[in-house]
Amino acid sequence: MKMSTNVESMTYKHLAARKGLLVDASGREGVVSERSAAGSKLTVPGLQVEWKAGCCEARRARSAVTIYEYLQRAFRRPPAPLPPGAAWCHDGDRNLVAFGARLECGRIIALGYRSTTCATLLALCEHLAEMVPGMTSAEALAYSAEDLLALHPEIPAGRRARAYLAVRALHAGLSLSL
């Protein structure tokens, strides 16, 4: 196994940017807690990610922060100001979402959103709002609803469409900010 020093020092946000992995909510750097021939293990409270040969081959992990916990965080988040002309996206269930991003040197440094109050949708928007800052715009635009859903297998089939709406709104908001 080849593991370079700069991989070890990557933040979870960077890992997330590359592979859509869960980011620790506070953006704390991961710690390589174990090494073996099979791979290494990064550990932060509430999250374990294993990979075999550096972050680019990392496997997706189930989010240790549940949809319900993200929903609670969403309720506590103060309303984010959205840029003028924010792109509102909607679905057939009368849900509306808009994201607004602030970029510096091609990297997202802040992300806000407004959403109707569907629990699943709010939670997924909150997850994106915590995870995406730190990514480049290209990385965020490559992030898919499937990546997000892989972190939340607890979302039942009837609610999985909310992830597509959230990610579509994220991409629309980013496109406006570029």
Binding site: Y68, D93, R94, A119, G158
Partner: protein, 112 residues
């Protein structure tokens, strides 16, 4: 008369009022009103967790009559059972409930 039940309070709501009164009456076809939907809040959602014997009987009635069964989405996420409900039982909130009932509106909504 068409009715919808909302199981909001806890305690004996589902094990007693539903499990020993409403459900047996529905199974026997003598409830006295057509039940078009049931919505479950908080711990009442456990009734529709796969494997629950009362839930199993209720789902069988719902399949036979077309009655809507729905659980509160936040309640299910909080209890980590959103993906463990009987097949065909959705999670949702009031907009989903009203949308689902819009094709067969109840005359009365009864909160238990």
């Amino acid at each position: 008369m068409k009715v919808a039940y909302i199981f909001s309070t806890q305690g004996h709501s589902v094990s007693y009022k539903l499990g020993r009164m409403i459900l047996p009456q529905l199974e026997e076809g003598r409830h006295g009103a057509e039940v078009v939907g049931m919505f479950f809040f908080e711990d009442n959602c456990y009734l529709l967790l796969r494997g629950n014997p009362i839930g199993e009987r209720l789902v069988a009635v719902a399949k036979r009559t077309g009655m809507l069964l729905m659980c509160c989405d936040q309640c299910c996420y909080e209890r980590e059972i959103a993906d463990k409900l009987f097949d065909g039982v959705p999670i949702g909130c009031f907009p989903d409930l009203y949308q689902a009932l819009s094709g067969n509106m109840p005359d009365q909504v009864i909160t238990i």
